[in-house]
């Protein structure tokens, strides 16, 4: 698993990457009450806003970590947003992205580096 400075986790499976938010991010957000997912098939560029998450406190975006195409979204989150708090680094993944340039993954942190990053 890799981690971004925007508190996303990324897990590569074949030519796809599965994206979610970290336990730390979910704790900071508080109770998640709304999730808006992109359409499958959407082509995105790194740093595009792809997902909206609203908690009792605030609204946040998830940005595309790399270029690619959204191949699948976890639509159970739409009806059950609190999954993001219950299992952020497991069941509550947000979308799968078919990547075009694998080298974009090289910049991301491993778990130890991320833990250090959030201090």
């Amino acid at each position: 698993m890799k981690f971004t400075e925007e508190h996303e986790w990324l897990r590569v499976e074949g030519d796809e990457v599965i994206v979610g938010i970290t336990t730390h991010a979910a704790e900071q957000l508080g109770d998640v009450v709304f999730v808006e997912l992109p359409d499958e098939g959407t082509v995105v560029s790194k740093d595009d806003e792809v997902v909206v998450i609203e908690s009792v406190k605030a609204a946040s975006d998830i940005l595309a970590p790399i270029d690619g195409e959204i191949t699948e979204v976890n639509s159970t989150l739409t009806d059950n947003p609190s999954m993001v708090n219950d299992d952020p680094q497991g069941e509550a993944w947000f979308f799968k992205l078919k990547f075009t340039d694998a080298t974009q993954m090289d910049d991301f942190m491993d778990e130890a580096a991320y833990q250090k990053f959030i201090g």
Partner: protein
């Protein structure tokens, strides 16, 4: 993930006069008498109105909200201003009449040991602050918002000092115990509180050895009490209340969602100097005696505008807004009269997720012709028009002991 362009911080801290005081570094912030207790309880402390205040405890905003609606929650509202107004003549009616020059409310007719909601108005009919006024027999007891208290105190000193002594009670804390089990919990420490009715006030009440002044009121839409206590006794009292099995500590986050579901205004968001009491749908707070043809009609700042609006209606009105989907509509969302095109006819002033409603709730101002209950409207969220409906408030039935 990153904070979005729409909302980075909760409504209760955004642009609110309570949140934009000069003191924003934690080291500059004032502390209430319960500060150490909040920290001990694991609260997340944030700057609010120049104070370091608990926004949430380990339970979290959602559970704190639901616990208050189901049992009882304890809130530290000691940042609010507590002021004593005493007539120099010794006759409390003189203090009441003096106060009536600042508020459009019947103060003279307020019974002894009774409290009512009021607002300070300005010459244009705008609202300078909203407040609670109590008649304690030999003086008036006033509770004002933290962010406005310096201005409110200056206003009262300036306008009332010829007839009244104004004493700021900054040696006192204020605790709110709110929820359907507040009475049962507090009555175990002092049975007489069960006999109080909504907006009753009692003075010199002994709560397990601690003397307090309390009212049966609050700002959550629930039954409950607001308890004024000497700073020196505040922590001991809070610990006694938290030891009751019904009671959990509740932070400002849940206080905001509770009052929103209760349809109650947050000063600086839903009401301010640009809104009149009539636009804000606070007509109920202006008793007949202060209206046109009343015995003491007018005589408060902005009376011309306010009395005229009471008769003819205001051009816009604060209403409840129920978004149809799951997307919260927060402060600042523009409201339209059509799904496409049409006109912008209003703005959301408070909005978010209502834990008891189980979905988004909001309030805001719309033009008078769109203010009728059940009017379908649209709020623009992230460039998309989402349907919402004008709705009666409160969103959750009030649970007062009348």
């Amino acid at each position: 993930m990153r904070g979005s362009r729409c909302v980075k911080v909760p409504a209760w801290s955004k642009g609110h006069p309570e949140a934009t005081g000069k003191a924003n570094r934690m080291s500059d912030l004032k502390q209430t008498a319960l500060h150490d207790l909040h920290v001990e309880l694991g609260a997340k402390m944030v700057p609010f109105a120049g104070y370091s205040m608990p926004v949430q405890y380990p339970l979290g905003v959602m559970k704190e909200h639901l616990h208050t609606r189901a049992a009882a929650g304890l809130f530290d509202v000691s940042h609010m201003g507590q002021v004593m107004v005493r007539a120099k003549s010794g006759d409390n009616a003189d203090a009441a009449l003096a106060m009536e020059t600042l508020v459009p409310v019947d103060v003279l007719g307020l019974g002894e040991m009774r409290q009512r909601y009021a607002m300070f108005t300005d010459d244009r009919g705008g609202i300078l602050d909203d407040l609670m006024l109590a008649n304690l027999g030999d003086h008036l007891f006033v509770v004002v918002n933290a962010g406005c208290k310096d201005a409110d105190i200056a206003l009262m000193k300036d306008a009332l000092s010829d007839r009244c002594e104004i004493e700021v009670l900054d040696d006192r804390a204020l605790l709110a115990l709110q929820g359907p089990q507040a009475e049962a919990a507090l009555a175990r420490l002092q049975p007489s509180v069960a006999d109080m009715k909504f907006m009753d006030v009692a003075q010199g009440v002994d709560i397990d050895g601690i003397t307090v002044t309390l009212s049966r009121s609050g700002y959550t839409g629930e039954d409950g009490y607001e308890i004024s206590v000497a700073n020196a006794d505040a922590e001991a009292l809070a610990r006694k209340l938290l030891a009751l099995e019904e009671v959990e500590p509740i932070g400002l986050g849940a206080r905001d969602s509770l009052r929103l579901e209760g349809g109650l205004c947050l000063y600086g968001h839903d009401i301010d100097t640009t809104t009149t009491p009539v636009e804000a749908a606070l007509n109920w707070a202006i008793q007949k005696v202060r209206r046109t043809d009343g015995d003491r009609a007018g005589g408060f700042p902005g009376a011309g505008v306010i009395l005229q609006q009471l008769t003819d209606g205001a051009p816009r009105k604060r209403v409840g807004l129920l978004p149809e989907g799951r997307a919260p509509m927060r402060e600042g969302v523009a409201i339209f009269d059509a799904a496409e095109g049409g006109n912008e006819i209003g703005t959301v002033t408070s909005g978010g997720f209502g834990p008891t409603v189980g979905g988004p709730v909001a309030m805001g101002y719309v033009t008078a012709e769109h203010a009728k209950v059940d009017t379908p409207l649209w709020g623009e969220v992230r460039g998309k028009r989402l349907p919402l409906t004008v709705t009666k408030m409160p969103f959750v039935a009030a649970n007062f002991k009348r």
